[in-house]
Point group: D2
Chain length 438, copies 4
Amino acid sequence: MAYKDEQLNEEKVFKDPVHRYVHVKDRIVWDLIAAPEFQRLRRIKQLGTTYLTFHGAEHSRFNHSLGVYEIVRRMIGKFTNYPHWNREERILSLCAALLHDLGHGPFSHSFEKVFKLDHEQFTRKIILEDTNIHRILKRVSPEFPKQVADVIAKTYADKLVVSLISSQIDADRMDYLQRDAYYTGVSYGHFDMERILRVMRPIEDQVVIKSTGMHAVEDYIMSRYQMYWQVYFHPVTRSAEVILSKILHRVKFLYETGYTFKLKPTHFQSFFNQEITLRDYLRLDEAVVYYYFQSWLEEDDFILYDLCERFINRRLFKYIEFNPNTQMKEWMELYRLFQDVGIHPDYYLVVDSSSDLPYDFYRPGEEEERLPIHLQMPNHELKELSRHSDIVESISGKKRTDHKLYFPKDLLEAVKDHKLKKQIKEILYGQGEGQLVD
Amino acid sequence: MAYKDEQLNEEKVFKDPVHRYVHVKDRIVWDLIAAPEFQRLRRIKQLGTTYLTFHGAEHSRFNHSLGVYEIVRRMIGKFTNYPHWNREERILSLCAALLHDLGHGPFSHSFEKVFKLDHEQFTRKIILEDTNIHRILKRVSPEFPKQVADVIAKTYADKLVVSLISSQIDADRMDYLQRDAYYTGVSYGHFDMERILRVMRPIEDQVVIKSTGMHAVEDYIMSRYQMYWQVYFHPVTRSAEVILSKILHRVKFLYETGYTFKLKPTHFQSFFNQEITLRDYLRLDEAVVYYYFQSWLEEDDFILYDLCERFINRRLFKYIEFNPNTQMKEWMELYRLFQDVGIHPDYYLVVDSSSDLPYDFYRPGEEEERLPIHLQMPNHELKELSRHSDIVESISGKKRTDHKLYFPKDLLEAVKDHKLKKQIKEILYGQGEGQLVD
Amino acid sequence: MAYKDEQLNEEKVFKDPVHRYVHVKDRIVWDLIAAPEFQRLRRIKQLGTTYLTFHGAEHSRFNHSLGVYEIVRRMIGKFTNYPHWNREERILSLCAALLHDLGHGPFSHSFEKVFKLDHEQFTRKIILEDTNIHRILKRVSPEFPKQVADVIAKTYADKLVVSLISSQIDADRMDYLQRDAYYTGVSYGHFDMERILRVMRPIEDQVVIKSTGMHAVEDYIMSRYQMYWQVYFHPVTRSAEVILSKILHRVKFLYETGYTFKLKPTHFQSFFNQEITLRDYLRLDEAVVYYYFQSWLEEDDFILYDLCERFINRRLFKYIEFNPNTQMKEWMELYRLFQDVGIHPDYYLVVDSSSDLPYDFYRPGEEEERLPIHLQMPNHELKELSRHSDIVESISGKKRTDHKLYFPKDLLEAVKDHKLKKQIKEILYGQGEGQLVD
Amino acid sequence: MAYKDEQLNEEKVFKDPVHRYVHVKDRIVWDLIAAPEFQRLRRIKQLGTTYLTFHGAEHSRFNHSLGVYEIVRRMIGKFTNYPHWNREERILSLCAALLHDLGHGPFSHSFEKVFKLDHEQFTRKIILEDTNIHRILKRVSPEFPKQVADVIAKTYADKLVVSLISSQIDADRMDYLQRDAYYTGVSYGHFDMERILRVMRPIEDQVVIKSTGMHAVEDYIMSRYQMYWQVYFHPVTRSAEVILSKILHRVKFLYETGYTFKLKPTHFQSFFNQEITLRDYLRLDEAVVYYYFQSWLEEDDFILYDLCERFINRRLFKYIEFNPNTQMKEWMELYRLFQDVGIHPDYYLVVDSSSDLPYDFYRPGEEEERLPIHLQMPNHELKELSRHSDIVESISGKKRTDHKLYFPKDLLEAVKDHKLKKQIKEILYGQGEGQLVD
């Protein structure tokens, strides 16, 4: 690479509650952080609607992105003396780490599902098209933006570089587990990252773990498992996600059926039409979404109004355990009964299965993109982790799915027809309300 | 009080990173938290623009309000056996603690200054006028809302109750110091709250501290001192505040001078006219503010556009030490020079003194509203803290002010007239740029 | 119970790094802590030789005993309103918690094995025979000492009381896991005890866990698993234990064969003769043991001198993986070769299997004394934990044993006969020294 | 220096609860840690009798010594690129840091006072005379041991090296404040060491602090102040120290007056005769001291027996505030009354002033050996800290002394002559016992 790393006169630091300090010495990194497309990540929460369950989880993707960068920086610091590590990949690794989530929009999961988007494509576009980020990256070399995008897309030739941010034990996950645990305040999510960094060894195309560090990795895997079930798949968070998705569906439906909005959804138009320009995409941050939701409290359409009101004021749906595979009959009946009492079941009777959410704890072989974790034995042989660890083995095979049925208890209670109401409640709660989780 | 405390079937908890858990047993408290006016606090950051300096500081006033409630709950738990503590004030204390910041709007400091508002008046209105909060409070008794408002306004007869949330060492401060330290990640802000709670003694009209706990209180006072200078008055945060104020000034000016906005500032109108209804006020959260700022990037007025762009993309003003009292001449000269080079000094040359910001570390006698801290000696005599503690004495007498001059370095650099530019820079930086703090 | 709880004038606290404060309000508890037999626990390390591996692990059994007391105190505080909890058992539970480890001597594991002792018998004796502890307990009632001893011996009628300090998730373990993690500095050992205390429910004869708290219990079980393999069974600690045991064996052998000591092992005499009085037992603390070991550096017997020198100066044995069940032939050969080169194999060639050490992570059915953990489902049915948790199930079935062969590498290196030396090394290390763990 | 740093094949780490890991790469350092004279520090508590007040404070000088080494290692890591830092001093700095407390004996303060010793002389002897430590150091170069001793003695020519472990803000203090806070569990003692390390700048003959880091240093100074008054000078700890000193005085007196001991104080003999050899000194660890104290419980001399019993079983003296300068008359009277009732006042009536204990918080000019802290202003000028910081200024001028009078309340209570007893109590407590601190 012809580019000579341009260093800042003096190292800069960001005070970070998780890693204490984030250190920046490269001017490129400094300038990327200052770019509007990166600053925009401050206006997008790392955990979307989770703050409605864990009030501390109000941190942004900006936080997390700095954290991933910092972990990669520390990894590389330990790698410099290993033969397989190519020192010329340093600045590439740092930039890819910093920018890996750049294309996230507000409440990505719901938006992606409803509007058939893919935030990774937008990450790519922001890096490759005519943006501040692109112009900064190009200062390294003309092909540098493409290299950064390729690392993030996992198509870059040097798989070792890719694995820093995309493997079963990469900087991305190590940051978010710790960070999300810190901000939610849950006691899971802690593991000995310093030890993991110490036992990481870069070999040809991946980072492996010295087998003496296996227990630290077990602990990390357990943290992940606990964070998924305790935080990421929390049923209250999913209730908010359900409502959010239904708002988007409703507004799309209204738009398509010619409803006259008091506040026209200008910012959403290109989303409805599936012709989203990068400029439109970058303008849509959480503030804009909240602005619309609040404004739609003035709309005449009851469903849109009601759903927005629920989201804004946190009047979420209640839920019961409900398996759509085995309870199809009840489902059909409830659907019909909801129609009969005038509660639109397409919006108000929703099965959510946690496997719809990003589920990625350790399952070797299932996710082709994420490399499994290999232990390096004293004789330098490699062993896949679950072959060596009882604990990891125990959780790696089993896919666990959690199904819940969400519905607005308050609307049901307000139903006038006592007979229908009773029928609905009997299906939902059986004899008592014992089944109702709260 | 005729009201019999209505308890929840089962205690509810919120996971809180600072206090581990926030415990709720009273239905009133539970319902207040669920009220839209309280949920709205989730959309207002506790520390306004501080997140632009400390990226972790993205927590909301919702967080802090729960925390103050929890501390008061713990205090009261320790008070029950003391003769001066009136057990009937329990629910009143809890509600006042929870609601004490209810009237805060987005970026309160700037909004209050520019639009001559007082968030305490809005707290009062939300409690006393026709709101969900009001209706919930009235379930206790018809006069209960007024009592809650009076406690918050410090006019309630039982000064002991008032002091729980308004004294030099109240639940409000104990929460925010710890919370702000936690989210920013700074190491100040920690003190031994558990010990302070143990040595608090309710006497007639205040909470005093057993003298054996003096060192814990010293530590708390020092935390406050450090948090003010390290976090709350951080010059970068103030740079953002300066820009924010200037945006509001500009938009007000444009409105008053008949400028035609592409996006009409509907939500601000009643602010310009000084006829703010409660409904208008409650609608204005941070999302709305950000929505406008982003939209104004499309406006033709350069100043409005530029300031909004700076705020959104964090292109802040630079600053130098500058004392307006002793450097009036330089100020006048700079003002004139800025005019000459076409940079409007009313918006781009701003002196900010930290005493403009809420400055309230321990100064007995200066702030009539905040009661000083009294130590209770072994012989039950009371002594004002600074009479007994060298450390507190040392910082209690001295008012410290920090003056900075803010300006847009980039605009200056772009000035074409080299002579004028050089003159400006000489005043700002002297011979080099050494004075420029960065 | 006729005894009326005598309370201290004012609650006393101990500053504790793990639980922040240990609170004492009962005079009985206060007096027990001040008793010489309890103060003696300050002179016995909680983790014996572990400090030679983790230098922070220098904390005493005094620390831990206070911690167990404090956890039981908090448990009881939550139990008072449950029907199955008998409030009259409060003081009994607190005393049993405080005193449960009272009979521990220095380096209990080695001493118990070599001298065929049982520290639980000594706990019982200290409580029941004529001691300060006994006299204090008797102030409650004549039968109170026996009740305390019975709770500790798990024979007390009210099994709920027993289970507080002797179950799979009792105060004993919850304290030591957290405490040992704190002092060693390892990142395992943390779990959300506050949450576990919140979901504990006293039923007839045990404490069960509300099923919503299952994940917190999983986390606790994992902590235990990790602490066992990372800390308690650490091979370096076991090396020190091996040497310690061999010192005791050697000194016993010398005593029995009429060796003339320069420093007569007066304090050990009754141990050799298996006629240990309580007074002798109580005098033997770690200071006494270290005093002897240091003095024996002056003895003429090489083995005694050498082993003591190793222990005092931490010149431990090295070790390799070695399975005595499958490698009997190598063992026999090594034994003979060690004899040939003049290194006494009874002292210098030692297989240690970790199942010799207290191994008690979750295996329902195997340990009759420790009750398994039951979850209480929403319908109040009980389910044994491993039936409900994949993770616990995965580690509960499997007994894991770790075998190591310990030997003094330095003595081997000093062997003059190169042929024999080579033979030994080939068996130990194969071709290289790769097998040697260190 | 001709010596080429010999590195270990692989970096070794010690798990440390304060610094997480202590890293060792130099074989010299590794070997020094393994030397018997260094391992001996495991048998000497860092805080002497403090564990009788704060039960967690059972950590040894071994812990602290590793910690100081680690901090110096980190400092040097940051210094390598500064012109004033001589890279050749690296190994010297590390060794001096590791060994700076090597000459400490058990309960140094009391032993030094009673036997007129100086642990620093013993540090020097261990380094310079024929010891394992000396032999290891000599491998670097013949003059290396002397250099290490000189750095510790503060006489080494390169004052910058000296200042790393002997200045107002050196590695020694930074470690012990944090470490002692960690083990005692007090919340003081925390400061942002990482930030301090970042703002340290090595200049000619000292380490100065970039002025932007002033607040972190203030916080450190405050920690020191709080730790002194809350932990190091705690009156209960001083009570134990008083008893310990009196034991030593008594045994010396008995020895000198020909008393026949049941257990002859062999280990102390050379201390009594002021002819202490290095070998005698190194043999005297805390285990030996405790062994004697326990054995002396069998002695016929009541005073020796009684004082030992108090120390072993923590039956400490009570105390009142008492100023010997202003209360000489009371003192004389008490002395006479104690004699009259047969309680030997030389052993049982003791004034202790905290300035007898190592009192060294920030007082520029008073302690010639400890360099003051200098801030480096943006213009590179140096300013002494207290000139710039109000807080430091406030505590730096004032010498604070705390006087207490210690006595055995239980012996007084047992006095038969009611009139004399009453007289004593009136002087001690005035009318009530209110003055008695407990």
